[in-house]
């Protein structure tokens, strides 16, 4: 396991992201309300650079003909096939077993640190 300082908190504004390269892979660092999340920049579907996707909300599971919009700023849509992922968990909206690799993040003295080597593997289905 290796801990990497990837940014200072002021480098990534609310709703923003930063793509970094750590040990040969790209990782997206996201700021949601001053909490930071790190996702591998690989969609488990076809390998797209998923962290470049739009950050949006989505309609939540609902009754028939009911529309409940939520999770604004928390949904990452893959730029290739529009699959939706929850940035805070890496899991897809349509199947929680489909997930992007996530990395542990901690903030110490204003520095954002990502740990490589302890992550759960990705799963496509």
């Amino acid at each position: 396991m290796a801990r990497h300082i990837v940014a200072r908190v002021e480098d990534i504004p609310h709703g923003g992201r930063k793509i970094v390269r750590l040990e040969g892979r790209e990782v997206g660092i996201f700021n949601l309300d001053d909490r930071f999340y790190a996702l591998k920049n690989v969609c488990p579907h076809q390998g797209a650079r998923v962290c470049l996707g739009r950050i949006v909300g989505t309609t939540l599971p609902s009754e028939v003909y009911e529309f409940k919009y939520g999770l604004e700023g928390r949904i990452l849509r893959c730029p290739w096939h529009e699959w939706e992922y929850d940035i805070t968990t890496g899991r897809s909206v349509f199947d929680e077993n489909v997930r992007i690799v996530t990395y542990a993040v901690e903030v110490v003295d204003g520095e954002i640190a990502v740990t490589i080597g302890a992550e759960r593997p990705a799963a496509a289905d």
Partner: protein, 371 residues
């Protein structure tokens, strides 16, 4: 007598989920119509009906056993329930036959009160002349979906009658069947525990959209070959409009549609849903799971795939072990004898398809009639 029974099916008994009683005497049916419309039902040849205008080349009955005169030809062979039992069911070991109807274009007749009247009269006539006198027949409640209020009333009126096992909805309709105006019909089916059978017939006629997605076909060959398009559209509509989220116990039987196109829509639909699910957030599971849980297919007519190995694969894809039902489609045998279709069925699935799946689907209703 032209009836020469083919060899019996290789199971002791079977359940045929599609037999079409034919109306040979409209006066008899008219007796069940309300007084104000009785004179119109009683017309020779029946009331005015919008039709699509396609007919098979030659006889529509193919190799079906036919009653009749010296030349062996009759207008409508399935007119006499006793003859059909003795000449079709008994020689083939068919224990029970679920009666559908010959009024399969009812759902696109522009006169909606006449359509509702015909449905009611047909249902009462069928119960009185076919179902109550014979142990071997079970009834569908035919409904005209143009007016869902009358359709629901008809389901409520007959659901508890002995011998009734399902609701029959002609698949040619004004709109895709997921549209919410039809939901009360599904609510009634679910409330009474009645499966819903869809049957082709009026595609392209009357108030129907064209029978294909690109317009009106020119010939019967084109028309009949294109019919699964309407099932594809109905299935996608029912799933995306949330019918099975609202009515999770509803089961739907797709008559005469074949099976090879089903995996296509299952997997195309699943793939698209992963990206587009936000549009219909009540569709909470991959669309194929609704198809495999709620839809049944029948054996008449199965596609004529050239390699038997293809059937084994397709039966696996559509869970034929639980979702395929034997259908005889008597007397509309323009696609051949129903026994021919069974050649494709592996031995291990035979019992399931010939009887067990129907028993599991219809449950106690199949045996509920006091004989």
């Amino acid at each position: 007598m032209s009836a020469i029974p083919r060899s019996p099916f290789p199971v002791p008994t079977s359940i045929d989920v599609d037999l079409h009683p034919q109306i040979t005497d409209w006066q008899a049916l008219a007796a069940y119509a309300p007084e104000g419309l009785r004179h119109r039902v009683a017309r020779t040849g029946g009331p005015p009906m919008a039709r699509h205008g396609f007919k098979p080349v030659g006889t529509a009955y193919g190799v079906a056993p036919l009653p009749g005169g010296p030349d062996g030809r009759v207008g409508q062979p399935a007119g006499d329930p006793r003859w059909v039992k003795e000449q079709y069911l008994d020689p083939r070991g068919i224990e029970l036959a679920i009666l559908t109807s010959d009024l399969t274009s009812l759902g696109v007749q522009p006169n909606i009160d006449m359509a509702a009247t015909l449905a009611r009269a047909h249902n009462d006539w069928l119960l009185d002349t076919w179902v109550r006198p014979f142990d071997c027949y079970r009834a569908s409640i035919l409904v005209a979906p143009q007016d869902p209020v009358q359709a629901v009333a008809e389901i409520d009126r007959l659901a508890d009658q002995s011998g009734v096992v399902q609701v029959l909805l002609p698949s040619a309709t004004e709109s895709p069947l997921g549209r919410r105006q039809y939901h009360p019909i599904y609510e009634a089916c679910a409330r009474h525990g009645l499966p819903l059978a869809l049957h082709f017939g009026g595609e392209g006629a009357g108030m129907s959209p064209p029978a294909t997605a690109v317009g009106h076909p020119s010939t019967y060959l084109e028309w009949s070959g294109s019919l699964p398009q309407s099932y594809m559209a109905h299935i996608m509509s029912m799933i995306t409009e949330g019918v099975f989220e609202k009515f999770p116990t509803l089961k739907v039987i797709l008559h005469e549609g074949g099976v090879f196109w089903l995996p296509h829509i299952m997997w195309r639909f699943d793939k698209n849903w992963k990206a587009q699910r936000a549009e219909t957030p009540w569709v909470k599971r991959p669309p194929s799971t609704y198809i495999l849980e709620h839809f049944y297919s029948t054996t008449y007519p199965l596609e004529a795939a050239p390699d038997p190995a293809h059937f084994a694969q397709i039966f696996d894809m559509i869970d034929a072990e639980h979702r395929l039902l034997f259908a005889g489609n008597y007397p509309h045998w323009e696609a051949g004898d129903p026994a021919e279709m069974l050649d494709a069925i592996p031995d291990r699935l035979r019992q399931r398809i010939m009887t067990d799946n129907a028993r599991a689907l219809y449950g106690e209703r199949l045996g509920s009639r006091e004989s």
